[in-house]
């Protein structure tokens, strides 16, 4: 019995058109049954490409993806029985009502009329969509459409659910509701792979996170472990009025205990320190001569992990 429900092995995807684009440069991932796994990275990192290949919508250039032992390239139809997908966009059937979207999806998976009907009504109840069952997708808000897409995706009781940027376009309330729903799926034994560029989503929701950029996995582990290993640091972003002759200031700051690095940025300084104790007054004093206009403090988080690993912000 495989406990590794998803195996992604040396996955590569290269688009050869006018420009040669390396979307994925050898991704290796393994998902355990029942876990919620986050793929965190900025736009263009290769997250959607990874999901496309895993959900049989794209073919890899090399490498393999196996869902419960089934190779998605060799047996795509079989693989589709085991997976559910909530795509980034609203791909609901516009010609069918909310109820029918879920009902026919059940029929695609071999449910009888009675089974499909029962399952659809059960899911609409679960996702609080019963009142909207006769509505058409064009009349739904983003949050509601998302719920229908999740219902559709798990209708056939897949082993793995893929969520591509589930928070994109959702207001904060819908986002929270969606997080609750995803957490609830854990109880049903479904393994979840979600991609996101929102740090809080990866942090709060995921058991384990892979940080991905430029088609490569940069780090892999639980959010706590990643923060301890890479990002147990506070980032101070200082906006200064005068950017001349910053070198002595940088040198002073770098010499301080606990400061890992200090560097000039377009608007002032960025100081990364392993401790914030007593650092704040020192920073203010040291930059007094340059006119400190603003100070932003980023506590240890996956965002700092990402910055540490790639040298750039998650949302660039």
């Amino acid at each position: 019995m495989t406990l590794l429900i998803v195996e992604i092995e040396a996955l590569t995807k290269i688009y050869e058109s006018k420009l040669r684009v390396v979307a994925l440069d050898g991704i290796d991932l393994e998902l355990h049954q029942g876990e919620i796994f986050g793929l965190l990275g900025p736009n263009g990192a290769g997250k959607t490409t990874t999901i496309s290949i895993a959900t049989t919508r794209a073919l890899p250039t090399s490498g393999a993806v196996r869902i419960d032992g089934i190779d998605v390239v060799r047996q795509p139809a079989q693989a589709r029985r085991l997976i559910g997908v909530v795509p980034q966009f609203n791909t609901l059937d516009r010609s069918l009502t909310v109820y029918e979207n879920v009902y026919f999806h059940c029929r695609y998976f071999g449910f009888s009329h009675a089974q499909a009907k029962a399952r659809s009504l059960e899911l609409l109840e679960q996702f609080m969509l019963s009142e909207r069952k006769a509505t058409y997708p064009t009349q739904l808000s983003g949050g509601l459409a998302q719920r229908v897409q999740i219902a559709r995706a798990i209708a056939h009781r897949p082993k793995v659910l893929f969520l591509d940027e589930p928070s994109a376009g959702l207001d904060p309330q819908s986002r929270m509701a969606m997080w609750t729903a995803v957490e609830g799926l854990r109880k049903e034994g479904i393994t979840v792979l979600l991609t996101t560029h929102y740090m809080e989503e990866a942090d709060t929701l995921s058991d384990r996170v892979a940080v991905i950029d430029y088609g490569r996995v940069l780090a892999l582990g639980s959010p706590e472990k990643l923060k301890q290993t890479f990002g147990a640091e506070t980032i101070f972003d200082l906006k200064l009025k005068s950017l001349d002759a910053l070198e002595p200031v940088i040198a002073t700051l770098q010499a301080l205990a606990g400061v890992t690095s200090a560097e000039a940025t377009a608007e002032g300084l960025r100081v990364i320190a392993s401790t914030s104790d007593g650092l704040l007054p020192t920073l203010v004093q040291a930059t007094a001569s340059h006119g400190l206009r603003d100070l932003a403090i980023t506590e240890p988080s996956l965002e700092t992990v990402f910055i540490r690993l790639t040298g750039r912000d998650l949302r660039e």
């Binding site: 919508r57 073919l59 997908v85 791909t91 059937d93 029929r107 695609y108 071999g110 559709r152």
Partner: protein, 272 residues
């Protein structure tokens, strides 16, 4: 045992897709019937009712065509019904599905191999084409001034021709829907489909083109010619038509070629 289970599952999934299309069609049944019936109805009305009634002196065309124009028209109009319905019922929804809503994602979630998803679309359109073509038969009986009686002896030939023709039209629809953006589909209809129809032995039989030999050869590259002639052979055999074996060979050839083209286009769009 596993293989049997697999094929049951395949059929259920296929049927699921078919049912979905059926539900959407039922919702739009009136528009479908109007779309399918309007052209042949009007054609028959004008050319086999109005013009003969008005009399030969008013319009030379009817005098030339004679009372048997209706007989020539019937299979031609059936072929046009198959062609237009077949292509439109695949190309238009498919173009939308590949469009901004990306609804193709929804269809492709179905646990069927992609060629089977394409086959379902073509099969469903084939069903619609056949209904459209069959509707022309009673029209040809009731509308013309001189009723045209369908003279069907060779039922197997008719069935074969109808099935092959509708699969051919569906495959063309698959190719067009995958390769042409929604905005340009109208253009395709005007630039490609209308000429194909006019040069497709719809309003005149192929044997009649003896008098214009170069055209008679040229139209052999037009698949609708074989559809018209095939229907002529099975529905109104009194009119001279191409030999049935030639028709069937050509229909099979064009269906296979267009099917391959259509499937290739479809797969290219679905898979990145």
């Amino acid at each position: 045992m596993a293989a049997a289970y697999g094929s049951v599952f395949f059929l259920k999934a296929f049927w699921g897709l078919f049912l979905r299309d059926l539900r959407v069609l039922m919702r739009e049944l009136m528009p479908f019937l109007l779309r399918v019936g309007m052209q042949p109805l009007l054609f028959l009305f004008v050319f086999t009712f109005i013009l003969p009634r008005i009399g030969g002196s008013a319009n030379p065309m009817t005098a030339a065509a004679g009372a048997s124009f209706g007989t020539i028209l019937l299979p031609g109009l059936m072929a046009v019904a198959i062609m237009f319905t077949g292509i439109a019922s695949v190309a238009l929804p498919l173009s939308t599905e590949f469009g901004i809503t990306r609804e193709i994602d929804d269809r492709v979630m179905c646990p069927l191999p992609l060629w089977a998803v394409a086959l379902e679309k073509v099969s469903f359109s084939a069903m619609q084409s056949i209904i459209g073509a069959l509707l022309v038969i009673p029209m040809a009986y009731y509308v013309p001034a001189v009723p045209v009686r369908a003279d069907i002896h060779n039922w197997p030939l008719l069935a074969l021709v109808m099935v092959l023709s509708s699969l051919l039209a569906g495959s063309m629809g698959l190719a067009i829907g995958s390769m042409v953006p929604p905005k340009q589909i109208g253009l395709i209809f005007s630039i490609i489909l209308v000429p194909i129809t006019f040069l497709g032995c719809v309003y005149y039989s192929w044997s009649g083109l003896d008098k214009i030999p170069w055209l008679q050869i040229a139209v052999l590259f037009n698949p609708i010619v074989y559809m018209s002639e095939g229907l002529r052979a099975s529905v109104t055999p009194s009119i001279a038509h191409m030999p049935w074996w030639a028709i069937l060979v050509a229909l099979v050839f064009f269906s296979a070629a267009l099917g391959k083209l259509g499937l290739r286009g479809f797969l290219k769009r679905v898979l990145s």
